[in-house]
Subunit: 359 residues, 5 copies
């Protein structure tokens, strides 16, 4: 339970920003979120190097070199560091604000020299927690800057393809790298969808087997997760579409071709999410119908027991009366006669309930 | 039950692709799904031949011959074979990826030399299972490539019309063949709709006769099926519309005329699915209302039995008390008087319940 | 009940067409649906004749005469006859297919020499059944062809206005006749709406007076009828709009003026159907709330009876015990004291339930 | 109750028109609706006269005078009178039909010499009934014709402003008068919204205090009213928008400025209606939840009473048995011991229910 | 409770305006709402002064001075004062009407010399009440007029940034000030969203712990709040978009850049509100499911108690009968045998209920 609460409650920090000037760089995540780690992967078709720069100078050095550099910055809590990086790479303060705003809605902003985008990297981390991590990416002529909050990411496939000498990515420009990272994020949405789909099936099974209130609570939780994920993922299809329509020379016609494939996937993901949403709502209905069934069963037991024994008890009560003059009491087989009557009543009631299909 | 689970769970394999480069050809279906079978139907107005090619070379030979060739490839698990075919026919790797991706959303992609489309062929197979089979089709100048996962298909009508010497199809070009195949897929959607419609009627009847929890579960299952089919069928109307608006010379004006008829059907199918969706939701409501009715009936029996016998038992209890001084006990007709009172009470209660319409 | 099932189940024949070539003329209605009857009303401002042609030749003769001819063909089961008519009037095979396809969705297709439309003629027939009859109409230079499935139609008003010498229709062209027929169909939708509205009011009244499960079933049936009618009527507003925007010289500016009035009505009908749909859904909610009320009433009776007599019976039970030493039993007024206590308990319970407003 | 039925049932007369030619002037309201009353307010900035014309001639005289004349015609049942007025003012028969069709959907039609509009004047009349009165207005160069069904209207504010010498309206043209009347209708929608809002609050309060079935029925009634009002008001925002976009010289740029203000209000009204609709639906949910609460309370009383006294009665029953050998019966304090046990059981049960929070 | 009613009921005054001429300045808020307070903040990059003008003349003096002046007017009940200010600043009467109409829907109107906008400033005031305060702003060449109803506002951040010598705002024009104020309003929406989100979580927790009818009522209240807030906030995103697309020279390209950031936030807020709306609806469902669970629990207790003790009491009743000939009564161990039987029945029932998982 704790896990999900954490995930769902991350957005409670916007009040920090009220009244501040736009462009004020305010980190919205967990302050304790550790030091900043920077890794640079530099490559051409014939070159592949990994750098761990010691200061901002070593980072900025990659800005204008003709090689392709992927600057990966993990940890957004050091606002002054982000500001310095932004300043040297010539980024607009509004963008810097969006980079450290971990609640930023996915967006694409085009500037003259670079294209800026933020997305939600949604994944199941090593502790099996569902995480919606804010990631910001800047596409420039010779490098791609990636800012992410947490160490974990979904980019290892891209790293592998870069380090594999023969990969197509090594022969391509920064726009293809930008696409490849975005594609990894989108591909991973399918994994999250499988996770949701699996959760729905599990809840559905539990529902039929043992519909405890806990199950209802989990259904509720699932609905909130689906809503949240939809909010994170929904804007992506429009953003990818805008990249495809963009006339910015930073994105080649060839890369747009690949982006169209990603657009395709974005549509599919949205449709699936829509279906999962409807399924999640159906689960609650099923839960209510199961409750109703249980109640019916309970009521039948009560009704059968009461309807059989209450009349019998009444008969016994009659002959427990102490009237001086009760002829039956003195009949020789009165007691046995009464037993006979009671057995007949019993059988009659059982037949009645059989006929009603309650037994 | 098993059947439907199978159908609904087919989409759980996307994680296989995370991190792979776009254009990586990864089969997403059942690996065990058997060897690849290729059949080529070659025809002109005066010619009709069926080939079973032994290798890729014999397939590719049909690429540029002036006859019309329908290359039908069944089985998508042999990725290297698909790759070879794709290479020789000059297909883009992204397309090859979509061909073997059995979870691919229906789509149309136009290239310079060919038009690529994937669709869901939805049908009830010989085991009475509802199948949503991925099928990919490529329209080229002189041939139509069809890639499908399973042996069963809905194209026998087209095969018959080709083999019938006098059919219109024999006088037409590949674009008409492409249309005819698509038309068969769409026509078959009507059969699936009839299946759904029949299921709704059956469930509705069961609902009134014997609303077991099993029925509720089947309604739930039906809702999921309708959602799934909608996801499969929904994009088709837009795709057909795009073909009609396309300026690609591969599609003649004459064929567009026929496509408009298919478009018509696509709209009708979508509207009907929408109705079935609403009906399926209504079924659950009916189920709940039936539960409520049953409960009311159970409660009435309990209430009638209790309300009649509890007061009577109380009266009997009174005269079962052992007080030394209870004058009634010694009256000569006390016992019979009490019987009289009890009968009056009984009749009174029966009248009361009659008046309330509970009896 | 039988009636409605009939109406709702008419669409179960689409599988007949799977695999057939487009343009194959396959009647989808009731095969037994009798012979074909043709009537021709021919008129100008000064002329009015009714013909009952014996063969196709006598029908086709009206194609090019300068008078206005309304060719009314009842019965669509004779496919070869329809084909012959179509051939002589120069109609496209795809249109002939739509004429005999009694499940065809309402549509308008414009051709060079004629405009083709199919609609649903919805009416309550003489047996008080709700019928959604397929009707196809072709507007040509000098005649209007009307194909309908059943004898009954809603065109008697138009026939009267034609036979009335002074009617505006006699001075107008075929496009106005086409409009007048369409207008009759649309006007009749209002009658069906009144029928639906009346049904809703009736069900609502039944709901409050005697909410039997039968009522729930009728509500369900009503919802299905509304859904079906909406599917039939919904496309009409778009079709009329398209006729108005058409640049086809067959439709005069003057007639478009009248079509705008029909468009107006189409919008109104759609809005009303939407409202009836919401009302029908509300009925089910009301039904459930009434069930809940009934249940509450039942439970209150049970609770009141039980709560009053169970404690009293307990008191009686106490003094029915056979202990050797029970002082109260030997008190002179013990029995009357106990009666007193029981009366006090009884009154107390009654007060309690009064206070709770359950009595 | 009677009142609302009246309002909601007014639309049941459309069948009167089936088969009639378009442009046939058929009054759809209450035939008995009294004689026609005509009032003409004529004004310029320096002139203000009220006329009660005796015949159509005296009315038509105002058509071409340079003063501004507001011709107000109350009562639409005299079809031949309306026809005569229409003829002399040069109105299209289709318009005359719409004027007397009291079920006409709100619409605007522009003609060369005049602009025609019908609206719903929704108000609470002097008998506190909610009325949706059909009103038709024609804007001409020198006069505005207003046709209304009932005597009551919402135009008194406009009459006052005209009679007040200094009002802006006296200096303006007919288009401003047309706007002022429309504005009065729209302003009055706010009053109806307040009425609905008040009804919702009242029902909500009743719901919590005393949720009788009557309340459920009133909620249902409210939902129908909101649906109806929405149908009446919904088209207005589009109509006003169309007037603003119109290039008709009858409407000055200055008046469009005021129309924009009315457009503003139309949007607001639609949004509020949407909210009221959602609130009305919520009321029913609240009702059901209250029913559920009541039921729970009833059941708790039953369960508590039964669970406490049934075991006690059993204990008393044990010692009411007549076995020859029952040692406890002969114990000196057996009776008191049993009382002790029963008190312990009683206290135990009370504690149990306290713990469950049922007491 | 009182608080929310207040907030929700503020719109009940529109009837005041019915029949008045448009442009009539009618204050719609609380008449008692105190005197008008005016503050002027005047600044350039090198200057910063705060004025408390004594009369309208001192206010209007700022209209044409080259410094940037923020004229903040608190209190809208003095209609003649507002009229005077409006007259001297050259504002259109329709605008003055909107300024004092505290129910005005958010809007933007562009005039030649100024841009007028009204918004809802939504905040939690010092008494922890949710307030939706009407605020109107006029952007002119050299000053920004702000009209607000209540003393409290969300602009203190802007005031601080102006008074801080080095802030960006000091170097910018009135359009930036206008943006900064709007941005403060929008930023504060996030705070309100957090409040709503917090309320949802609180209600959800209460729901599981103690689902009293009070909780249901609070959920209902929450739904109404979300609806209301949505109505207030919804138009903002379109208004900001319109400012961005405006070609009015009053808004510089640079400021549009910042407005785009605000647009971004508007979208995010709308999406979140949509989610909160769905969550609020889910809460009610959860409540109903919890009610159902409680009921099930109650019924189980009743059924278990009744089913166990009713048969036992029957057995005791049997041997409480007074028949002369009842052999068992005279068996030596008859009494103990009966106890044995009763214990067996008891254990049997307990096992039965264990097996049903009710214990
Ligand atoms: Mg989350
Ligand atoms: Mg969430
Ligand atoms: Mg989540
Ligand atoms: Mg894909
Ligand atoms: Mg998918
Ligand atoms: Mg999926
Ligand atoms: Mg499914
Ligand atoms: Mg499915
Ligand atoms: Mg399926
Ligand atoms: Mg259909
Ligand atoms: Mg169908
Ligand atoms: Mg068709
Ligand atoms: Mg139907
Ligand atoms: Mg129907
Ligand atoms: Mg029907
Ligand atoms: Mg209507
Ligand atoms: Mg109607
Ligand atoms: Mg329910
Ligand atoms: Mg009309
Ligand atoms: Mg209504
Ligand atoms: Mg109404
Ligand atoms: Mg009304
Ligand atoms: Mg409002
Ligand atoms: Mg309002
Ligand atoms: Mg509020
Ligand atoms: Mg306004
Ligand atoms: Mg609210
Ligand atoms: Mg509110
Ligand atoms: Mg933002
Ligand atoms: Mg957010
Ligand atoms: Mg948020």
């Amino acid at each position: 339970m704790a896990k999900k609460k954490d995930v769902l409650k991350r957005q409670f920090k916007r009040h920090k920003k009220v009244g501040k000037a736009p462009g004020t760089i305010t980190y919205m995540g967990h302050r304790e979120a550790a030091e900043t780690k920077v890794t640079i992967i530099e490559y051409t078709d014939s070159l592949h190097k990994i750098h761990y720069p010691g200061d901002v100078g070593q980072i900025v050095a990659h800005k204008d070199t003709p090689t392709t550099s992927w600057v990966n910055i993990v940890g957004l809590s050091d606002e002054s560091f982000i500001e310095k990086v932004g300043f040297h790479f010539g980024l607009n303060p509004l963008i810097l604000e969006d980079i450290v705003n971990t609640q930023q809605r996915p967006k694409i902003d085009e500037y003259e020299d670079y294209i800026f985008g933020t997305f939600r990297m949604v994944y199941i981390n090593d502790n099996n927690e569902l995480i919606g991590e804010h990631v910001a990416m800047v596409l420039m002529q010779n490098c791609v800057l990636v800012f992410q909050e947490l160490d974990y990411d979904v980019f290892n496939g891209v790293r592998d393809r870069i380090s594999a000498k023969s990969g197509r990515i090594r022969t391509k420009d920064t726009d293809y790298l930008f696409f490849a990272l975005l594609d990894s994020i989108i591909d991973n949405y399918f994994v999250v969808l499988e996770h949701i789909s699996h959760k729905i099936e599990t809840l559905e099974d539990e529902l039929y087997e043992n519909p405890t209130p806990e199950v209802a609570r989990n259904i509720q939780q699932l609905k909130k997760e689906v809503l949240k994920i939809r909010q994170w993922i929904f804007p992506v299809k429009e953003l990818v579409g805008r990249l495809i329509d963009s006339e910015n020379p930073l994105i080649s016609k060839d890369t747009k071709f690949f982006l169209r494939d990603a657009l395709d996937h974005s549509y599919e993901i949205n449709e699936s999410l829509q279906i999962y949403r409807e399924m999640a709502m159906s689960l609650m209905e099923m839960y209510m119908s199961n409750m109703s069934n249980k109640m019916n069963e309970v009521m039948k037991v009560l009704t059968i027991m009461s309807s059989i024994f209450i009349p019998l008890t009444f008969i016994a009560g009659i002959y427990g009366m102490n009237f001086a003059h009760m002829p039956e009491l003195h009949w020789k087989y009165g007691y046995f006669l009464i037993w006979g009557i009671m057995i007949v009543v019993f059988i009659g009631m059982v037949f009645f309930f059989k006929k009603k299909n309650w037994l």
